[in-house]
Symmetry: C3
Subunit: 264 residues, 3 copies
């Protein structure tokens, strides 16, 4: 059975970076099937990376290897990790990339990567500025070649970004979360998940205090409101989103990543 | 023989949408070969989608499945369709996506898609906002698995966008068409096809009345005019195009999609 | 063993051009594995194409075919070429695309392409404006089908762009080069390679005279300087680069392609 290797980076596609990763991977494991998830993650935006990784996780089959490189700390102290669970693997820097999967219950076991094992395979010195090509892509290739045991070092607790968490308050009864990602249409995706809402009863009033914004009730789909009108709805990944029908909510309402969102 | 599945969407690649479609397809039919045609169609621009689909159709081998999702009506009343002809398949919303292929003579038989058959395969509820992932990609996977009969419902007449048609007038002798698509270089591609021109004799005078623009005669290639000069020419897909050598015709001349073009 | 075909173009992905090339290739050689290197090369920028091609060359396995189409001279007098060396192939217009590989020592043998052999295979007339689809992609397909001998004509000396060369001066002791490419982060990549520097001793003073800019000494990585500060460093492809930590050097310093860079 052919392996899928999913690539998520902020490298863009106008330079050699994404292609060099593909080449480094294919030299080691030429039979894999590369899936470009995105190379257009906002530069250095680890939270968006964590969101996209979470939102596609369920849709790929067992055996898939995800390589997720948004790596502002390259060349510094952060570790490189390989996580495995549900028959899938993730290779990434230990900078919070796994936050949303872990917060939302994915059973992942995480290990630091043995750099020396990667370097011995590629026969090339690891550069100071490009671990996507020199560590992460080759590590994925080795996993595809059933060399997972050779590259993993000790088990570790990966870093989790605190802002992906939500908080349920008793009085007034509410869930507090934050905007995680703004999509290309300007829809604003929060960290509040439908499953959390289902556990309790809420009136369905959504507030973004910093933007002086209240929306109520929660709609089912864009067609429920008139063109140009704002709405809150459970998006296709299960999170509470804020949008404008035929419009760009982030631009029109001034919403930015990490804005606090409250569902009452 | 491996199947090709061509993806055409307006989802961009900075979010999870295109990748979720790929995952949903590969879970059902892991052996297919995904071809990213484009995820950068202008948002909601069904006419451009119809044009790009038409222009690549001939170049892909028998057995190819095209998934074309520009779907402003998602969640509303429009049907989902699967079309087949010349040994190839197209999965798309019934919103005019097939207009140009049908107008230009492709022999396609069209059916509505049996949603229930798709839902039973994925085991996931169809969301209100993302049929690319929940219906169209899985339907393509089922076709690749030789389950075409299982997903098709009754035969239908698909919706055709009237603007893709051309009209031949007797006096004065002319063909009237419209601008269908503006490419990234600013070249303006009309609905007037070389084969229509060949049937009659025209003087080769091209007019865009709304922009107060007349070009004559029709050039063979950009090199026929001086840099910066406008020209009309038969483009690589066979349609009459308006361009500027080393320049952006749409921006410089103010031409927009659906502008009427007349060839005399 | 499956063949990889790497595509490098300036066609973008919002039109049909890149996809038509893929289709034309797959019709001839359906078993190949297409790798999108980039379709976002700056329009008509042959030097950037030459740089990206050079920078990925080593990372792809033997047997890979590179199709590199930045072709402002399409329809004119320039020849089409196929180059082979190190078990890999390149198909491109003879316009300087191979300059950096040849300058940096790649052992390539170059031939002009027999247009008639390509045309006979596709059964389609070669258009005046789109040789990517009509010549280069089919030629790559034929190479993958072991028909290299059928498409090559006489051996030729390909055109080399003079600006990719560097010059070593004796007094004062220095290497002169030029900016070849500016990446999406604004890092400015010069033609001066670490291997040239290693042959002699330099003080490590980098000058871009046209921008009134001097940087010294050469840093190891971005983390060596404070955020917002400029630096010169040996990039991941081995060339001397100028960057700003967490910033865009090209924009901030006014550096443009072909600016002269001197290392003393």
């Amino acid at each position: 059975m052919k392996r899928f290797v999913c690539l998520l980076t902020d490298f863009g596609v106008s330079d050699e970076y994404a292609a060099s990763m593909k080449g480094a991977l294919l030299r080691i494991s030429p039979g894999v099937n590369i899936i470009d998830v995105t190379h257009e993650l906002p530069a250095h935006d680890i939270i968006s990376a964590a969101y996209i990784l979470y939102s596609i996780w369920d849709y790929f089959p067992r055996g898939t290897v995800f390589v997720c490189v948004v790596d502002p700390g390259v060349g510094g102290e952060r570790r490189e990790i390989v996580a495995c669970g549900e028959g899938k693997y993730i290779v990434c820097p230990d900078n919070g990339t796994l936050s949303l999967l872990l917060r939302r219950g994915a059973r992942l076991t995480c290990f630091s990567i043995k750099r020396k094992a990667v370097e011995n395979t590629t026969g090339k010195r690891i550069s100071a500025t490009f671990h996507g090509r020199d560590i992460f892509a080759p590590a994925a290739g080795l996993i595809c070649n059933k060399k997972f045991a050779a590259i993993r070092q000790q088990e570790i607790n990966p870093y989790i970004i605190p802002q992906v968490f939500t908080e349920t308050t008793a009085s007034p009864h509410a869930i507090k979360g934050r905007i995680l990602h703004i999509d290309r249409f300007g829809n604003c995706i929060s960290s509040i998940h439908q499953s959390e809402s289902a556990k309790n009863s809420f009136s369905g009033k959504v507030t973004v205090a910093a933007r002086n914004l209240t929306i109520s009730p929660i709609s089912k789909t864009f067609a429920d409101v008139a063109p140009g009108r704002r709405l809150a709805y459970w998006g296709s990944t299960g999170f509470l989103e804020i949008g404008i029908r035929n419009g760009n909510a982030a631009a029109a309402l001034g919403i930015v990543q990490l804005d606090e969102v409250v569902l009452r």
